[in-house]
């Protein structure tokens, strides 16, 4: 009698157990995969502190970023990104060298624009001075 009852009440639990364990494992595996996944570099463009564009560093393209104060023309070519033209007053961004490594950035202060490389190779630094 006791055995019967146990068997009956336990069976649905067994299925739920399995689902619960499977779900937890799935989340665990997914997070491990996401954490260890190696992505190619991406180019992120921020305007006034807000993310505006995000492109792969691996695909060549040229695009124009407009802000209230003007435009910057950005070129991604052969795994490197640079600002090829701008109508800001000092054009220091145009003078900046092409970047490709994680954490490197090009800044256009008058336009409050930052071009930064994320998740690329050799991201061995916490900061640059």
């Amino acid at each position: 009698m006791k055995k019967m009852r146990d068997f009956k009440t336990e069976k649905p639990f067994y299925v739920r157990d399995f689902i619960a364990v499977a779900a937890v494992l799935a989340v665990l595996i997914a997070s491990i995969v996401m954490l260890t996944q190696k992505k190619g570099g991406t180019v992120e463009v921020y305007v006034d502190g807000k993310p505006a564009y995000s492109y792969s560093l691996e695909e060549n393209r040229t695009f124009t970023v407009s802000c209230d104060d003007g435009v910057n023309v950005i070129e991604i070519k052969d795994g490197k990104v640079r600002v090829i033209d701008a109508d800001c007053n000092n054009r220091a961004c145009v003078k900046s060298k092409a970047i490709s490594k994680k954490g490197e950035q090009i800044v256009c202060l008058p336009h409050k624009l930052i071009v930064v490389v994320h998740d690329g190779s050799e991201g061995e630094l916490d900061a640059r001075t």
Binding site: D6, T9, E10, F13, Y14, D17, A20, V21, V24, V27, Y46, D48, G49, N89, N90, R91, A92, V94, K95, K97, K101, E104, V107, L109, K112, I114, E122, E124, L125, D126, A127, R128, T129
Partner: protein, 342 residues
């Protein structure tokens, strides 16, 4: 059996929730702040890191208003337009920064001078005048005229955060020290115990909390190397660099950098960049690291190295002939092999 299964589910659920909560706690919060004529990157993790990053953002924004020589609401602007012997009331922060600047001016015999603002403007190195594409340098007569109004001794600090000056044409700029000072205040006022990360205030870098931090020194010229060299530092360190490659222009093949020397011309003494390292932000502050990097650059190698030694600062100096030297620096690793040891 039933019990053990329940325990298993409970344990797994607990682990799941705990890891979720912990990862949430440890999530790095990063924000870019435009202030002090540059961009700062604040990156912190730990309890309430998000709040702290927000506080730093507003702290920097308010200090920027007080320190920006071009902002008509700023303390600096009001000092600059003040008449002879007029008394100007400033904030405690501006007063403190002026005290630091005056000490550095006296100790370096005028080589570190915040009163070269008009000269910087003439040379087009201030934020509002700067251009990377300049075709001619200022006339000597104009430089000489400005040079007669750069004596910081003409500025007197009175009691109760009041200042006055005996030369109406004396104009100051905080560009050389605002970043380090802002970082100091962020550490003092906003960062909590248990938080860790990096405050990169426009190149003046503060390492926060436990851990080991890898700080790159930029390559001063366009070489193949990713960066010049790497410093491995514990928390509570400060690193900053003054170089001839950040705000500069080239006229007739000659490089002109933003640091103005005592002769009224951009410093040209064989130094490309000076990196200053403080192993204890409390003993040697960010503001003073900023002072030292500019001062060593302006003083030149021998006098500069002596001056930095007085404050126990570490130095990495790169020279125009492609050599470099380190002084009192541990854990430095050269990356750009186009440079050799002097």
């Amino acid at each position: 059996m039933k019990k053990s299964r329940k325990v298993l589910i409970l344990a797994l659920t607990a682990t799941f929730i705990l890891s979720f909560v912990l990862s949430g706690c440890n999530a790095k919060v990063t924000e870019d702040v435009f202030a002090f004529g540059t961009v700062s990157s604040i990156s912190l993790k730990g309890k309430k890191a998000k709040n702290t990053v927000k506080e730093i953002d507003s702290l920097f924004t308010s200090l920027d208003v007080a320190f920006d020589a071009e902002n008509t609401k700023s303390d600096v602007y009001r000092i600059n337009i003040a008449k002879e012997n007029e008394i100007v009331q400033v904030s405690a922060e501006t007063y403190e920064l002026l005290s630091i600047a005056k000490i550095a001016y006296d100790e370096t015999d005028g080589a570190f001078n915040i009163a070269t603002y008009s000269l910087s403007k003439l040379w087009r190195f201030t934020s509002d005048t700067f251009s990377s594409f300049v075709s001619e340098i200022p006339e000597k007569s104009k430089i000489d005229e400005e040079l007669s109004h750069v004596d910081l001794g003409a500025l007197t600090l009175l009691s109760d955060n009041r200042v006055t000056k005996t030369d109406a044409r004396l104009k100051i700029g905080f560009g050389a020290i605002a970043k380090g000072y802002a970082g100091d205040k962020a550490l003092e006022r906003t960062v909590k115990d248990g938080q860790s990360g990096i405050l990169n205030v426009g190149g003046t870098i503060f390492t926060v909390g436990k851990g080991e931090y890898k700080i790159g020194i930029s390559s001063p010229r366009d070489t193949d190397a990713d960066y010049f060299g790497k410093l491995t530092l514990p928390g509570n360190s400060v690193v900053c660099t003054s170089g001839d490659y950040e705000r500069y222009y080239i006229v007739d093949g000659k490089r002109y950098c933003h640091i103005i020397g005592k002769d009224g011309y951009p410093v040209d003494n064989g130094i490309v960049s000076v990196t200053v390292i403080s192993s204890d932000a409390k003993a040697l502050s960010g503001a003073f690291c900023d002072v030292l990097s500019t001062a060593v650059f302006a003083l030149g190698r021998d006098k500069g190295v002596d001056y930095a030694k007085r404050y126990g600062a570490g130095l990495v100096i790169i020279y125009t002939d492609g050599t470099y030297e380190t002084f009192d620096v541990e854990n430095f690793e050269l990356k750009d092999v186009s440079y050799r040891k002097r």
